[in-house]
Amino acid sequence: MRNSIANILRFALLLFLQVVIMNNINFGGYINPQIYILYVFLFPYYNKHRSFFILSSFFLGLSIDFFMNSGGINAFSLTLIAYLRPSIFNIIMGNQAVNDKLSLRELPFSKSITYVLLLTFFHHTALFWLENFSFDELGIMFFRILLSTLYSTVFILISLSLFFRKKQ
């Protein structure tokens, strides 16, 4: 029960932060950090509610889309990484983490970076490609994807470490 309230709060807080603050920050003139994807990283991993996770990620992405008039691109990208998260997590963290039900803060830091980087990269690739919907500006688009991934990953890692510090 406490978990679902925490989830709803996270949903609303990340939506609000992204739309009101983050969308107005820009680095290099055109990159803004997508921190609402923190929702995917913070959602408890070892519970059975995968369908709810996928659905709620879709709605978070869709809400962002409503604010940004962008159709379904955020919904698609967020649902994509929500679906891929267990597979990527297993591949990177290995069987031991899954068996012992370790949480994100107990895992080696370098693996966490790879995990965050990889999922963020998939998300941004889907996002920018859907926004462009063609192959004609591939070079610039790829550059934007890389740069945005880096910035968003930095933001996410900082936020994650902030979240988990007090528990230790």
């Binding site: 003139g29 996928i54 869709l62 409503f66 604010f67 379904g72 698609f76 649902t79 500006e137």
Partner: protein
């Protein structure tokens, strides 16, 4: 049958994922065609009021500068008023004769303010605080005194969504101010204040610094609205037309007060043009 159900049940997450992604993709594709109304838009009252709340805070920051701009614009308008008297032969003729049969209003201007702006994406949209209640319709033009902002795409009760000029789907009819050569203005996606004007024939004569204005050949924007100045130009090899880089007068990151233009003759004009095309 049972095997099939068992197969589906085992992979239920995948099918849920697939189903949701198809919906998301459909919404995305549906959003690309800017001639149709969109499901996913920011004109609802909830979203509009979130943006209004945020922009109220933001607008305090720019008050001094905005005031200065408004004073300058007032001055310009005053001077136009004074010159509304001109001499024809020996008699004075006054333009501001509103009872005259010779003039009917073609363009109606409504002021609005921007509650949400974006300029960093490839396709940008702007939300303004006027809607159906104020008589705004889709495909009305949105301008400032010195630039084109975009075209209204969806209209809600109190707010409207504008497809920004900084959007790869928007083409605007534009011309050189000092001649009648016209072409299409688009945004190539790099710098937010640089645009490309194409289809100007190579016989056109112009120089760097010349003004580009709207051409008036669309039913949306009247002629003569400033857009920007010529920054550089080239003729791609083998082509007969210039590609001109235009630097806008306004900074698209800094827009607050805009005018919505309704062309009261737009229906008549598009009916004529449509019947011409089907002949």
């Amino acid at each position: 049958m049972q095997q099939l159900l068992f197969f589906l049940a085992k992979r239920k997450h995948f099918f849920l994922f697939l189903f949701i992604q198809i919906i998301a993709l459909w919404l995305t594709i549906q959003n690309k065609d800017y001639h149709r109304a969109k499901f996913v838009n920011s004109t609802g009252n909830f979203i509009g009021s979130v943006y209004k709340f945020a922009s109220n805070w933001n607008s305090y920051v720019g008050l001094i500068e905005e005031n200065q701009t408004l004073l300058e614009e007032n001055a310009k308008l005053h001077s136009i008023l004074m010159s509304s008297m001109f001499k024809i032969g020996e008699n004075f003729k006054q333009i501001t004769d509103t009872n005259s049969n010779r003039y009917t209003q073609q363009y109606k201007f409504t002021d609005a303010s921007v509650v949400n702006n974006s300029y960093r994406n490839r396709n940008n949209h702007i939300t303004i605080n006027k809607g159906i209640k104020h008589g705004i319709k889709a495909e009305n033009g949105v301008v400032t005194s010195n630039g084109i902002i975009g075209i209204i795409e969806s209209v809600g009760e109190n707010y409207s969504s504008v497809i920004s000029l900084l959007n790869k789907n928007l083409l605007v009819n534009a011309k050189l101010k000092n001649s009648n050569h016209f072409g299409s203005l688009s945004w190539p996606g790099n710098d937010r204040n640089t645009f490309l004007l194409s289809d100007i024939p190579k016989e056109a004569i112009f120089a760097i610094g010349d003004t580009i204005t709207t051409g008036g050949y669309s039913t949306i924007f009247p002629a003569g609205i400033n857009i920007g100045v010529v920054d550089s130009y080239e003729i791609p090899s083998g082509d007969n037309y210039y590609v001109i880089k235009v630097k806008s007068f306004i900074d698209y990151a800094n827009i607050k007060y805009v005018y919505i233009i309704q062309n009261l003759h737009s229906r008549e004009l598009s009916t004529i043009e449509k019947s011409r095309n089907t002949k």
